[in-house]
């Protein structure tokens, strides 16, 4: 979707402001939100792409105003509601509805090390051969999917060169809408800064992105 999350190349956000001796979490609730997101994800009622899409779909003004973990909280609540894990009435009251079942958490403390390590592989074996090889020239498609996509606006329609073939990976555009993993070949594609930004780009510089075959035309 052409959302505010697709920020590459935008102006007006000011300088980058590093923070000395930054803590992992700036308030205890940030860590709780992170942990809740991991543990509710373990119910496997959504996937990583659907999770990202739930953040992208926050109202644009909220997306820009909220801190990172505020966005995570808001999107988590939306996912919980969409998956039916909580009801609006329960959220409002803070209490389980009368008669609602009590579940058994799928992850206990002794499993946490494995759960954190188990960031799964997204590579899949598929029949067929990749269409492109390192050195091939491509043009990123000028497409504007309304759903989730990992093809940023700033490369659409631009000429690039295949740098590396990574085999087939889960295709986020499909997975985010629960339409299956639909693995596609994935490539690292290099674009010159001049191709992307005209004279605003430095002639010596380049940007590389990891793009699925469906995003690319031969050129």
């Amino acid at each position: 979707m052409n959302g505010v999350h697709d920020m590459g190349g935008m102006h007006g956000f000011g300088p980058v402001l590093p923070e000395a001796n930054e803590p992992v979490f700036h308030a205890a609730w940030e860590g709780r939100v992170r942990a809740l997101s991991v543990l509710m994800g373990a119910w496997r009622l959504w996937n990583i792409d659907a999770g990202r899409h739930s953040i992208e779909r926050l109202p644009p003004a909220d997306y820009l105003r909220m801190s990172y973990f505020e966005k995570w909280l808001e999107a988590l609540v939306n996912r919980l509601l969409a998956a039916g894990l909580v009801t609006p009435e329960e959220l409002a009251s803070g209490r389980k509805a009368d008669g609602a079942a009590v579940a058994s958490p799928p992850v206990t403390a002794d499993m946490v090390t494995d759960i954190i390590a188990a960031r799964g592989s997204y590579r899949r074996d598929v029949p067929g051969k990749p269409r492109f090889a390192a050195g091939d020239r491509i043009r990123a498609k000028n497409i504007h999917p309304e759903g989730h996509t990992r093809l940023p606006r700033y490369v659409r329609g631009r000429l690039g060169v295949i740098e590396r073939d990574h085999g087939a990976h889960v295709f986020p555009d499909s997975n985010a809408r629960f339409a299956g993993e639909a693995p596609r070949f994935l490539y690292t594609v290099r674009f010159t800064a001049r191709e992307l930004w005209g004279n605003a780009g430095n002639a010596a510089d380049a940007v590389s992105l990891d793009l699925w075959e469906d995003y690319l035309d031969p050129a």
Partner: protein, 205 residues
């Protein structure tokens, strides 16, 4: 909801923000429904705060600086090379290592969200997740480097890596001159998180 980004501290007394109260209420509800185990939450927070962090990445870089065969393996297959050092989750994390040289400087960003190589660097800092960094790193990487006080030498190309898939990038910074006598443990202490994202150089001690 609140726009508060931190809890306020008045004379040692924590006054929870509206967001903190909302999170607490959500957590209680999910615990009451048997959907999460509070002890598992504590274990996750502890892992992020104490076990997963940029010291892991610094070990990888220091090994690459001191062991040419390891560096070759790292640049060819970073996931396998990082897994050799035993770091949590790295084996399946689709890692890619990119090397800074006298003529190439690498910089890592995720313009679409905040993808970051957590097995080797931990959770990302706020600036990495900021709109300012995500928007500018691809169009004005040299300006971003100036924000961090870095000016590159003449003739150095900037390579930006936008993490749009599940591949995660680790920059192998240049080993500073004058460190030839240092061993791997001492070198690891020089390697900063920012240098492994590509917004800093590693300074000689």
């Amino acid at each position: 909801m609140s726009g508060d980004h931190h809890d306020h501290d008045h004379a040692g007394q924590e006054v929870p923000s509206a967001t903190a109260l909302r999170v607490k209420a959500l957590e209680s509800l999910l615990v009451e429904k048997g959907l999460v185990d509070p002890a598992a939450m504590d274990a996750i927070i502890d892992a992020y705060e104490t076990r997963i962090g940029p010291r892991n990445g610094a070990r990888v870089v220091a090994r690459a600086w001191t062991d040419p065969a390891y560096k070759t393996r790292l640049l060819a297959d970073a996931s396998a090379a990082i897994a050799e050092l035993g770091f949590l989750g790295s084996e399946r994390a689709h890692m890619v290592a990119v090397e800074n040289t006298a003529t190439v400087h690498n910089l890592v960003v995720c313009t679409l969200c905040s993808c970051y190589p957590w097995p080797v660097l931990g959770l990302p800092p706020v600036w990495y997740k900021s709109s300012a960094y995500r928007s500018r790193a691809v169009i004005d990487p040299r300006g971003v480097l100036r924000d961090f006080g870095v000016t590159l030498n003449e003739g150095v190309s900037v390579r930006v890596w936008d993490s749009t898939a599940e591949l995660r990038y680790l920059v192998v910074p240049q080993r500073p001159a004058g460190t030839e006598a240092m061993n791997e443990d001492a070198l690891a202490l020089l390697v900063t998180r920012d240098s492994m994202v590509g917004v800093a150089l590693v300074a000689a001690p």
